[in-house]
């Protein structure tokens, strides 16, 4: 007896709309179940009966009739609409602003001389704030007296004479600068440093960029193993023009290495509606060699697809931002302990040891993976609200020794 997913697969095959991974599953189904092959043949025959052998030509060609009707329509002309009230008002507003600007500029130019006179008068009226520091050249009253008077200025009352004690006498012999300090040793060169300390080395890690279709190649596998040995957690970005097919391929590859894949309900909804969103495929139950084998499976399956569902791949060690993403999306804290606080606060043996041991015995340690939408921080929901994520966390249990967390982010490529 066939299941509903199997009949859906057969119907899609009759429609001729199977992706690479589903086509593979379809071939396996045909090989495994004879009734599936029989049903496929019957449905295919129904479709062939419906399909007409030839399409009858139209009895009367419509070319001339259509052309006669479309000629009066001015399709290519870009018609300029009649000016509306708003556009008229806009034109008046522009003209008024230009006129106002010209008037303002003319007024400013013609009154510039008067303004300069006013400034001079103001300068004369200003008192000297600190006459002890004024030099004879800076003496305001002297400057004022040097300016030739205009008929308008004559009305200003005569200033009182300057008292002689206000004017500062500048010393004729200024004080010399102090002598330069004496320098010991060679000032220009650094001299010979005895017993220098060794320089600190900083290794620069660049993302490992490669074609996803080469994941099963020997050189890529070796490089992956080298990379996996260097850091505690990794992120693998996969770029795909067909994220749904790529996700199916990932799921099929994961199943081959014994992983149980769970998809978040919200993510399933996104995928069903074909929302172009990045999808995160998180797993932390596999060791480095197992991860390499999983990725090799992906590479093998990609080689059977034309065009491949995944294009390029970037492998980078997880950083602080990735740790935060994993914590906010899945509730898993991968942040490495700070130096010196590795063991945390000391606790007595009897505080919660019994509970931890009991919990570890109860929890299953299946190899599990979870698929969630990789959304921006503002659009994320708390992991506790998703029963699939909770089930994944329960199934995942404690991470086994040597297991390497890997966050595969499937990014839609435009």
């Amino acid at each position: 007896m066939l299941t509903i997913p199997e009949t859906q697969l057969i119907a899609a095959a009759v429609d001729g709309e199977l992706s690479g991974a589903r086509a593979h599953a379809f071939r396996q189904l045909l090989a495994a179940k004879p009734e599936a092959a029989e049903l496929f043949r019957a449905l295919k025959a129904d479709a062939a009966r419906l399909r007409p052998a030839t399409i009858r030509p139209i009895p009367v060609s419509q070319v001339s009739a259509v052309l006669a009707r479309i000629r009066p329509i001015a399709q290519p002309k870009i018609r300029r609409s009649a000016p509306t009230t708003r556009s008229l008002l806009l034109q008046y507003a522009i003209a008024a602003s230009v006129f106002f600007t010209l008037c303002s500029a003319s007024f400013w130019v013609f009154t510039a001389g008067d303004r300069r006179e006013q400034e001079r008068v103001q300068q004369r009226r200003l008192p000297v704030t600190n006459p002890t520091h004024a030099t004879p050249e800076q003496d305001t009253f002297a400057i004022a007296r040097s300016i030739p008077r205009t008929p308008d200025v004559k009305s200003i009352p005569e200033m009182p004479p300057i008292p002689p004690e206000v004017v500062v006498q500048v010393p004729k012999d200024p004080e010399l600068a102090p002598a330069p300090r004496s320098a010991h040793g060679d000032v220009v060169g650094s001299g010979i440093i005895e017993n220098p300390k060794p320089l600190a080395e900083n290794a620069l890690r660049l993302p490992y960029i490669f074609a996803a279709g080469e994941l099963d190649q020997m050189d890529v596998q070796l490089r992956l193993k080298e990379e996996f040995a260097q850091d505690p957690a990794f992120r693998l970005d996969l770029f795909s023009k067909n994220p749904a097919a790529a996700l199916e391929l990932l799921q099929a590859s994961a199943k081959q290495v014994g992983l149980t894949v769970t998809a978040d309900a919200r993510t399933q909804d996104f995928l069903a509606k074909k929302v172009p969103v990045a999808v995160a495929f998180y797993l932390d139950g596999l060791t480095a060699p197992e991860l390499a084998a999983l990725l090799a499976n992906v590479g093998k399956q990609l080689q059977t697809q034309k065009p491949p569902a995944i294009g390029s791949a970037h492998l980078v060690p997880m950083g602080i931002a990735d740790f935060r993403d994993v914590k906010e999306s899945l509730g898993i804290d991968l942040t490495p302990p700070r130096p010196g606080r590795a063991n945390g606060d000391p606790k007595s043996i009897s505080s919660d040891t019994l509970g931890k041991v009991a919990g570890a015995v109860k929890k299953a340690t299946d190899k599990a993976a979870i698929v969630v939408a990789f959304l921006p921080a503002t659009a994320r929901t708390a992991p506790a609200q998703s029963k699939e994520i909770k089930a994944f966390l329960d199934k995942r249990g404690d991470r086994k020794a040597g297991a390497l967390p890997l966050l595969i982010v499937l990014r839609p490529q435009v």
């Binding site: 119907a11 709309e17 049903l39 139209i58």
Partner: protein, 202 residues
């Protein structure tokens, strides 16, 4: 999109109506086939084809080229044919006045709104059985089945024409195929077991 179509469209937009004439010549047979299946009358189908091309020309500037030109044309013809069929049904019902049983001629339920597939076929016995079975399908299932098998549209194109998600198209096609199989050979498809993840969007 077909490069030839793209060239002809750009020339038509630039004012060369002869290029649009080439597009008419290229697609009028297929469009007539679709229209005839929906309105079930050769003369009405000709009118639908003509109106569809004129409507397409008027809104040619809005065609962005992200889908096939025929899919876009198909959608226009589909809507034009349905409008024509509705108009004709209303006119016939109003002319008929009061029916045999005293009810008004206006039929509120439009069950044959999209297709009447048997009328345009050669009526051999085998084809008559097939046409009867297709006619028994629900309108939604019948429409997607004929769009797929007769017009050869893809899931994406059917979704665009019908204005539904692709998942709905896939689900309707799956149900339509099994319904048709059971109508042609009753009991040929057994009741399937409920499998995991069988939720369908429709």
């Amino acid at each position: 999109m077909n490069p030839d179509d793209r060239r002809l469209i750009s020339e038509a937009l630039a004012g060369r109506t002869a290029s649009f004439g080439e597009l008419v010549l290229r697609y009028q047979d297929r469009l007539y086939h679709v229209a005839n299946r929906i309105v079930d009358n050769p003369d009405d189908a000709l009118d639908v084809v003509q109106d569809s091309f004129v409507n397409a020309y008027q809104s040619l500037a809005s065609f962005k080229g992200d889908a096939e030109f025929f899919t876009w044309l198909y959608r226009i013809a589909f809507n034009t044919a349905i409008s024509a069929k509705r108009r004709k049904r209303s006119a016939v019902s109003l002319d008929a006045g009061v029916g045999k049983n005293g009810e008004l001629g206006l039929d509120p339920e439009d069950r044959t709104v999209d297709v009447a597939p048997g009328a345009a076929m050669e009526r051999t016995e085998d084809e008559r059985m097939l046409a009867d079975a297709v006619a028994k399908l629900s309108p939604e299932h019948r429409t997607v089945l004929l769009m797929k098998d007769i017009d050869g549209l893809k899931y994406e194109d059917i979704a665009v024409v019908m204005g539904v998600p692709i998942g709905t198209v896939r689900s309707r096609l799956h149900r339509a195929r099994f319904e048709l199989r059971n109508l042609l050979e009753p009991g040929s498809v057994g009741i399937v077991e409920q499998g995991a993840g069988a939720a369908s969007p429709d």
